[in-house]
Symmetry: C2
Subunit: 216 residues, 2 copies
């Protein structure tokens, strides 16, 4: 049973860790630093978070929940596909704006089959599906064939991963390069939607490949 005291301790440790990761970066923050700043023993930190990566996983879940809320809010105010895509992508950047130094830790393990943070790992699946669902919602009003909608939602999610990767490396003031990448991407893609039904066989085909190899 999770007591109030216990979850308060857990929260304290997570908050402290994220604060230090943001300030000094993931690598340069040690578990000893986190424990000390949170006012607990090293053992307590490991009692709640079995590894340093587990703290990143907790961040990943929390930040996705924030993004979902914020994106839905902004999407409901938009009146076009263009506006909805912009809403999802810009709120994504809003959500992670302060966290450049932290995010590289997430991507570091994304390709590692052994890591729980792997892009294919079961642990990350719920969060990933929640993110893909947002793009599906942005597309919903277009009334596309189901297969095509799924394929496009997946493609847009892939694009968003690429944009986040770019954001991590973006040193421009106010991340204006990333903001521009979002705007130009939407400008390029949204006007193509009328052509989308023509691409329906492609959508089916792509999904077919992904299903065949177990990716969708």
């Amino acid at each position: 049973m999770t007591t109030k005291k216990s979850s308060a301790t857990r929260e304290k440790i997570l908050e402290t860790a994220l604060r230090l990761f943001r300030k000094r970066g993931f690598e340069r923050t040690t578990m000893r630093d986190v424990a000390k700043a949170a006012g607990v023993a090293v053992g307590a930190a490991y009692y709640y978070f079995p590894s340093k990566d587990a703290l990143v996983m907790a961040y990943y879940e929390r930040t996705q929940a924030n993004h979902t809320t914020l994106a839905r809010e902004k999407m409901s105010a938009a009146t076009s596909l263009d506006g909805r895509l912009r809403a999802v992508l810009h709120t994504k950047i809003d959500t992670i704006e302060r966290d450049r130094k932290l995010l590289s830790a997430l991507f570091r393990s994304a390709g590692d089959p052994a890591s729980e943070l792997s892009i294919f790992a079961g642990k990350t699946r719920r969060v990933r599906d929640e993110s893909i669902a947002l793009f599906r919602e942005a597309l919903a009003a277009e009334k596309l064939p189901a297969e095509l909608e799924s394929a496009l939602a997946l493609a847009l999610w892939s694009l968003s991963m690429g944009i986040v990767l770019f954001f991590i490396h973006d040193e421009s003031p106010n991340h204006e390069k990333t903001r521009r990448l979002v705007d130009r991407s939407v400008e390029t893609l949204a006007p193509m939607m009328p052509m989308a039904p023509m691409l329906a066989p492609l959508g089916t085909s792509v999904l077919g490949v992904l299903r065949e190899v177990g990716l969708a």
Copy 2:
């Protein structure tokens, strides 16, 4: 000046490291293991390779050189776009087939701005450009508009990165899932080439975005 003795030592260390990485994986091979098996002190290994990642970088350069040779060889025997794309992608997998355990180390640092192995780092640029050039060669006979050819070569390179990422996680016997992913991807894309000129504005547009943010 690089003496014969020195480069022999360097080579011995690299060979030994790759052999151990292949056998036991990157994480589970320590620098102490490498030094011991190569018959040198830990300090000597660090003298030639300033970090464990530097050994991976050396692998990356070497394996790309192998891929370039092999892909050109197979491409020259192919008579269609379909065949040339298959040649480039399958030889890529041929080249890294034994190295699943090693490759995750490469991807691990790909998203980290601080790493020399970053996908945006200057150190990796030559290797990346060499790889993109292969896709350009596969497309050359199609006589596409220059901008479109560049955009497609970049897109195909991105696809190949995705395929390598999938390969790292592919536990199927003989990596048949990856081989199937290659074949189905080519089957899906090659027949669309006749439509490509229609997409020329898209190609220009995409390249425009990438240039604007400094990615191409």
